[in-house]
Symmetry: none
Subunit: 202 residues, 4 copies
DNA sequence: GATGAATGAGGATTCATTCAT
DNA sequence: TATGAATGAATCCTCATTCAT
């Protein structure tokens, strides 16, 4: 007749473990992180971890996917449903989104993919299909719509949404390698957007 | 027709080995590369490698330095000695230099630093001091000189040489992670420069 | 009839391993004993050994301590609680104890310390504090008590308990180096004690 | 027509090398001493060392023999040619000889034999035949001669020359293991001799 | 389901020995 | 002879993975 102790749902376990793994990978990188360390952080035994993920590699993939999932979709949604003008949208929601990325788990995933991607081409593909491709398409959509609406003029820059990503990527890389050195990430991104808008404005 | 077993080229060995290591690291990353593999590529025994580099880590550092050394200085030199106008310089030598970077060993080093940099803060520092800092300073010099000469107007963009680097970095990262996927690196870099120049031209 | 692969005896393992290591070290010496050999003798895998002892050196220290612990205390106890006369004590329990030493694990530890002691000064200190110092003190106590009781006369010999140890040490060394050659250890020790007693008797 | 540079005789080389090896072994022990280290100390190349000694083991044996040779013979000579009374001889030349041993290369050899002897039974045999056996015989001769001359009485002690060696051996071992801790070696040896003489005097 | 003791292949490093020069 | 660059077998140690309990 003892009161049932609180037991974490086993349905939550996988996410708890991938969350712990993300933390660990973020700190030490994939290769240098021991599975035992992940288990400890998740408050779980090694054996149980292996019940959910057959190998360390599978855990790695699950981590990447867990970060990726639904993250870009929100952006796409906003793009599609916004009622703002193109420039307002870029300066508003898009800029705000971009500023958040370098400090988000996305940066960790980028680091992992950079270090380990070669050994996991399917993962790179997955990331490409689900994040990069969709993300770039969404940004391209914003620019194209601006052109359609007569807000922007068609030019090389409106065909290269990569240019919007570039300063974000630089910020991510900088943060990974030069954790200590200051870099005004926000200013960088803003300046790039200012430049771009000034350039493509009709 | 077998290669001579003994070659006795004490002076060349270190470079031969770091070159082999660069190749190996480029393919598999640092952690996944076995020392024996590097030795084999260099046509040398494990033991000899250890004669020149006390540890794998030291080899790693030597690789980074071997790539870095004298590479940036050439750029700086060109900046200081050019007789071109600022815009001509940017569109000419600088653009040409930037286009070459993503396919150069620098990309490998970036990847290594991204993956292993956390464990070697001194190396990150070294890279920062000898490449990043100097490189950014050189670019900043170009922009500032343009302002001094009345070719450019002073603005946010002239204070952020990082923006010149951003598309190059994106190209590097893209090349590392999405080796297969095409990306028109040159166009990316060119467009960014066009945009920048249009923006800062006096 | 194969031994069970998993035994799960966490508590016993360290002692099983140090016992196996003692055997192995006794046969081959520390440097020449491979860790794997110790593991095999203990019926355990290399990995498990490293679970209990972080390095071979730590295993070495554990072996020394395992032999040392509680061995001298028994002697000291006997010294303190005996009701025999001093001479009876020396000729009885002490002599009997001394005769046993050359064939005991202590001889192995002496050999290890002789060979490896220089590299492990803390271990030499530990051995000195816990065995040598205490043991000599106990023997000195026996002699001093004899003097106090009027059984012995105070002289150089009663101040040098080392002389009781000397033939034992010779026997140990002989046994290590000349395993084959016969030496009447017991007679050696007895004669020394006879000589000593004849010399210090009041 | 240049003056001939001084060149060490090649006949001296083996001894120079064994001397260097003795030093190195004394400091680090056999296993921990690298052949290169010995070569360096001898001011000779590794290759040349191998010209004189086919293996490290052979070098080891040469070291032991180099220390042993002619050392005991001097003692035996003195024993045979002395004109002193037995007691005078023991208290004089013999005591003096014994006091010198613990600080001599013999101590190093003892240590080496203790550590490595098991792997080189032929060396232990050699040492036994040339040092131990002869040395003990010489001491036995001293005691027996004393008995023959009526200076000593025949007893257990006169049959065990080992007892003369025992304190010397203790001193050697002490010096090896407890390099730091003080021990009045001379007093130890003297007291033992006093005791012995008092005991066997006719 | 959970646990963590146990395994062993894999990889970094050392060093006695060889041999082209 | 004399050198020291070169070799590679040997050995310590790690860590992903398994499995008895």
């Amino acid at each position: 007749m003892t009161a049932p102790r609180y037991r974490r749902r086993k349905e939550d376990r996988p996410q708890e473990i991938t969350a712990a793994a993300l933390d660990a990978f973020a700190e030490k990188g994939y290769a240098a992180t021991r599975v035992e360390e992940v288990a400890k952080r998740a408050g779980v035994s090694k054996g149980l971890l292996y019940l959910y993920f057959k190998t360390k590699e599978e855990l790695f993939k699950a981590v990447v996917k867990s970060v990726v999932i639904r993250r870009v979709d929100a952006l796409i949604d906003t793009v599609e449903t916004t009622e703002l003008s193109s420039e307002e949208f870029v300066r508003g929601p898009l800029l705000s989104f971009m500023k958040k990325v370098p400090a988000s788990p996305v940066a960790v995933v980028v680091r992992l993919l950079l270090a380990e991607g070669r050994k996991h081409p399917d993962l790179a593909d997955y990331y490409y299909d689900n994040v990069v491709s969709k993300g770039l398409a969404a940004m391209h959509r914003v620019l194209t719509r601006g052109v359609e609406r007569g807000e922007f003029r068609q030019c090389a820059a409106t065909e290269q949404p990569h240019l919007l990503v570039a300063p974000v990527m630089l910020s991510i890389v900088w943060g990974i390698v030069f954790a200590g050195k200051a870099l005004d990430t926000d200013a960088l991104i803003e300046t790039q957007i200012d430049m771009l808008l000034a350039n493509i404005r009709a």
